[in-house]
């Protein structure tokens, strides 16, 4: 989408001076490509806020490298990301020979790729020799042995890649472009890794952390414009999660609108939908109560909001089309913190006869985009605020998946809960403290949501 969005030019900066998002994004892209293609450094790092056109950048950089006669390997983190990238590459340039290196499991890749004539899929790297671009997951690349190193690589979602995963694949390339979103969920380990905290190569840290600790002079770029987030969301997400690297929305106020064919019936779900359509945010607040993770009332409320959203015939106006486009089930997502919560919401939606809505945890929603999202707040109904629930990236992912509006369902009392549970993670020598911490970010988001609060009334 970068540089190709005619409707975005009208966005205005908050200070009043004219701001041309397309031009700003194009400038950033040019600088990145210049460093990647002609720079002297072995690595280039690109920070991308949510929906800033990271995939578009990766596709463009890959095509330009290939066009310059420099074959490259692309490392992504999940099979879904790899399939998506290959699909985008093949769609953008149907003649470009692209290899999809996959595992030897049954159904290892998306069958969509078989529809592209120029895409060759194999579990053996030897079958893909000589192709301009070979794409695979970090886990699969780590098993590749005895090949001539590639001169170039692109590492996608580098902030979600663990340092030890980079260690396993870095011998395969000479230089690389690292692209990722520093605000999303950090990689984690199921076992303790404290003994290495503070080491530059802490294997549980993110790949970018290790890379920059050892190569502090690498050029670092930033994509300045989020094309996904509406003008109502970008300032909040930028302030709460990217306080030192602010970004802007590519669209202005009023360019995106949500409307309903059916008027509100005055219930909580309807009123919160109206609020969200009006302001981009809605908080449906249930009475304070300590609940199990799969809080039946909150789960039912989430399902009810989705049901009403569909029933009321929501339609979205955006720069993508002149006519309002119906918000169908596939344009809606429900985000939760835990898998059992997602399962409970799925069951509740099935009970209301809703199908086709994506319901998943923050981890699995990373990188995805929808018109409207309904979020079960990670701290809703909890007696405590653990590091898991406070993690900045979790809330950031949940609050930045939408193009139009985001409805948060939560029990009252989260602000008090936060105040009772300040962050207590030990400070480790040699570890750069991450800003903002989850506690601060949670408060920032809550303070904003409080202005769009609707009390639950069935």
């Amino acid at each position: 989408m970068i540089g190709a969005d005619p409707a975005a030019g009208a966005a205005r900066a908050r200070g009043g001076e004219p701001f041309d998002p397309s031009a700003a994004a194009a400038r950033a892209t040019e600088a990145i490509l210049r460093d990647t293609l002609h720079g002297a450094d072995r690595g280039v790092v690109v920070d991308s806020p949510p929906g800033a056109g990271k995939s578009t950048l990766v596709v463009r950089a890959a095509r330009e490298l290939a066009a310059a006669g420099r074959p490259l390997m692309v490392v992504a983190q999940t099979n879904a990301q790899v399939d998506d990238l290959v699909d985008r590459l093949a769609t953008a340039d149907p003649d470009l020979p692209v290899g999809r290196l996959h595992s030897s499991d049954p159904h290892p890749y998306d069958p969509v790729l078989d529809g592209h004539a120029s895409v060759r899929a194999s579990a053996k790297i030897a079958d893909l020799a000589g192709l301009d671009i070979v794409v695979s997951t970090a886990a699969k690349w780590a098993h590749v042995r005895d090949v001539e190193p590639w001169r170039h690589a692109i590492v996608d979602e580098a902030y979600q890649m663990r340092s030890d995963a980079l260690l396993a694949v870095a011998g395969l390339f000479e230089r690389a472009l690292f692209v990722g979103d520093p605000g999303q969920l950090d990689p984690f380990s199921v076992v303790g890794a404290d003994q290495w905290a503070g080491l530059s190569y802490d294997p549980s840290a993110s790949a970018v952390t290790t890379l920059l600790a050892h190569n502090p002079r690498l050029p670092q770029h930033r994509l300045p414009v989020s094309w996904r987030l509406p003008a109502s969301a970008a300032p909040l997400v930028s302030d709460a999660f990217y306080p030192y690297t602010p970004f802007r929305s590519g669209t202005g106020h009023g360019e995106r609108r949500l409307s309903f064919g059916v008027a509100s019936d005055g219930s909580g779900p309807d009123r919160v939908l109206d609020e969200a359509a009006e302001s981009g945010w809605g908080l449906l607040e249930l009475p304070a109560r300590r609940t199990p993770r799969t809080d039946p009332e909150a789960v039912a409320a989430v399902a009810q909001v989705v049901r009403r959203l569909l029933d009321r015939g929501a339609a979205a106006v955006s720069e993508r089309s002149d006519e309002p486009v119906p918000v169908t089930a596939d344009r809606i997502a429900v985000g939760t913190a835990h898998r059992d919560q997602a399962a409970a919401v799925r069951a509740a939606l099935t009970g209301l006869g809703v199908s086709g809505v994506t319901v998943d945890t923050a981890n699995r929603l990373q990188g995805r985009e929808f018109d409207v999202t309904v979020v079960l707040h990670p701290l809703s109904g909890r007696p405590d605020a653990t590091a898991f629930h406070l993690e900045t990236g979790r809330l950031c992912v949940l609050a930045s998946r939408h193009r139009q509006a985001c409805v948060v369902v939560c029990r009252a009392g989260v602000a008090e809960l936060l105040d009772e549970h300040p962050s207590t993670e030990p400070v480790q020598l040699g570890v750069t403290v991450k800003f903002p911490d989850g506690w601060e970010a949670n408060h920032a988001v809550l303070a904003h949501l409080a202005e769009h609060r609707v009390a639950w009334r069935p």
């Binding site: 190569n215 799969t294 509740a348």
Partner: protein
């Protein structure tokens, strides 16, 4: 904390007694473990004050440091400690069995089988608490780089023989204890809290006394009350009746008893060094007094530790524990070989590749441990089922089918009726254990509607499923209590009447049926069989190989600097006697 653990803790509160989390013991317990109960000196980081150590519960060896600020006395303590522990560690080194292992031949580069030694058993160290494990690591770190006069005649402060060697062993044991499921070095608090849920917080469970008070309270005393007493009851002199398990001491003991006794010792020692008449006798007296005081703090913990061992021994060992203990034996054997080969002590810090390898190995060990525990223990499996990671039920239908390959393979479809609510999506891989112990793989196909059985709400789930397991001795986790718990967890079922599309699941078997067109007998379940499928693998594989340290890539700082000494101590540039 998993839901089933939360339930067990709530039950423990209600019953006034810890509730079992397992039906078997999931850790290896040696027949002859060495117990080590250390104490440190307040205000002097890492300075030992005393220890009880030994393999005989009735005759522990008491070691003390009468004046912990005196480094000579500390050294003497460490030398004595080495004399106690090192022979124990060595006593397992020579009884070996031969194992065949594949090794890469350096000349041909091929994997060839070689005969290698594996120690038949391995020494096991027990400490009271997690802080004790940390102290073992600290001791190892402070001892392993010392040099004895024999190693280096020039060294200004030679360490007693065996001290550096014990340091290396304690380091190895401390490092091994970070591997999930390993049993070379164990703390009693971690062991006990794995097997029982108390009515207190996990933080409070780190107090060995109060943990035991919940698990085995005195007759007629509720666990909470017994735990509170163990934690904070003081005698008329203000001293804790149950001294802390250490290594930290009770400040009241330090101030009221230890400090004055140490002053008397110091005074007698000063006089003795000046040759004052009778000072030698007073010095002996003062030292004996200190021994008595320190023993009074150590002995209750020593007894508590063995009490805990008794409780754990009353549980039968899990079926896969021996398999994991064998890895501990490999670990012990490998370190024995490194010491014998004259290799230098472990480096202060791991290099990038070693750190990544250790992390990967531990993650694999964790996944393996989780799988093993669930397969060994229906109560643990019940927790996984409650978490949606497994399901058990009765086979209601079997439909033979074959794959469409040129050589068709059996791919029978099994319908399982279950009350569990696994987190399934199409083509999710499933695993189960066959009667002969092999694993069978399958994949989830979809839901099948059961005849009118659907739609009865979710809350009765646990009652039905726990009965099916017939888990002996599951205590509080049986049907009666399960109902209340599951009501909350499955609330969605009741609230939205969202019973899902039925409770009969269809699974396609994809492996474990032999090589022929017809499945091997017994490899396909029959109608009426009870089966338990898991969503997790039973024998998770490790990650990929990492590069050699010499080929550490540029992203991780390149190969470790060859110029800098990779091993051994490096004196502080300003104060040479300090090793960083």
């Amino acid at each position: 904390m998993s839901l089933i653990t939360t339930l067990a803790r709530m039950e423990a509160v209600r019953e006034g007694r810890a509730q079992p989390l397992t039906t078997v013991r999931h850790r290896h317990l040696s027949e002859r473990p060495l117990a080590f109960v250390p104490l440190t000196t307040a205000g002097e980081a890492g300075a030992p004050l005393g220890a009880l150590v030994g393999t005989d519960r009735d005759a522990p060896r008491l070691l003390i440091v009468a004046q912990p600020r005196d480094r000579d006395l500390r050294f003497a303590f460490l030398a004595e400690l080495a004399e106690e522990i090192q022979p124990y560690l060595d006593s397992y080194a020579d009884e070996v069995e031969l194992e065949e292992r594949k090794e890469t031949d350096p000349e041909t580069g091929k994997k060839v089988p070689v005969q290698v030694e594996l120690c038949a058993d391995a020494p096991q160290l027990l400490v009271p608490s997690a802080a004790g494990v940390a102290f073992v690591r600290l001791l190892g770190r402070s001892m392993r780089f010392r040099r004895t006069a024999e190693q280096d005649p020039e060294t200004p402060f030679p360490a007693p023989a065996r001290v550096p060697l014990l340091g290396r062993w304690l380091t190895h044991y401390g490092e091994r204890s970070r591997v999930p499921g390993s049993c070379l070095l164990l703390s009693l608090t971690e062991l006990l809290s794995r097997h029982w849920a108390t009515g207190q917080s996990p933080l409070e469970d780190q107090h060995l006394g109060s943990l035991l008070a919940w698990i085995d309270p005195p007759e007629g005393v509720p666990g909470a009350e017994a735990a509170l007493r163990a934690e904070s009851e003081r005698d008329e002199d203000g001293l804790l009746r149950c001294p802390p398990a250490g290594p930290a001491t009770d400040p009241a003991f330090d101030n009221q008893l230890l400090a004055p006794a140490m002053s008397r010792y110091d005074a007698a020692r000063a006089e003795a060094s000046q040759g004052v008449a009778g000072a030698e006798a007073r010095l002996r007296l003062a030292e004996a007094e200190l021994r008595g005081l320190i023993a009074s703090q150590l002995r209750p913990t020593w007894d508590a530790l063995w009490h805990g061992v008794d409780l754990l021994r009353s549980l039968p060992e899990g079926a896969r524990v021996a398999e994991r203990w064998k890895r501990d034996r490999w670990s012990y054997t490998a370190h024995r070989d490194r010491v014998r080969a004259g290799e230098p002590p472990q480096p202060k810090r791991d290099d990038a590749v070693t750190a990544a390898q250790k992390l990967a190995a531990r993650e694999t060990a964790q996944a393996q441990l989780d799988a093993h525990e669930a397969l060994d223990d229906p109560l643990v499996m019940a927790g996984r089922r409650l978490a949606g990671e497994a399901f058990a039920g009765e086979v209601t239908d079997v439909e033979m089918a074959w794959s469409e390959a040129r050589v068709p393979r059996p791919r029978p479809l099994i319908t399982v009726r279950t009350e569990d609510r696994p987190h399934l999506a199409e083509r999710v891989k499933l695993h189960r254990v066959l009667a002969d112990g092999r694993a069978q793989s399958g994949e989830f196909v979809g839901f099948a509607r059961t005849d009118g059985a659907a739609g009865t709400g979710g809350a009765d789930g646990a009652a039905g499923t726990d009965g099916t397991d017939g888990a002996a001795g599951t205590g509080g986790a049986d049907g009666t209590d399960g109902t209340t718990g599951t009501g909350g967890a499955d609330g969605a079922g009741g609230a939205g009447d969202a019973d899902g599309p039925g409770r009969a699941l269809v699974v396609r078997l994809t492996g474990g049926m032999g090589r022929g067109k017809q499945p091997e007998p017994g490899s396909v379940p029959e109608k009426g069989d009870r089966v338990c499928w898991t969503l997790f693998e039973h024998a998770p594989r490790g990650g990929p190989e990492l590069p050699d340290p010499e080929s550490t890539p540029w992203t991780h700082g390149g190969p470790p600097d060859a110029a800098a000494p990779a091993h051994g101590p490096e004196p502080d540039p300003m104060t040479e006697e300090d090793y960083l």
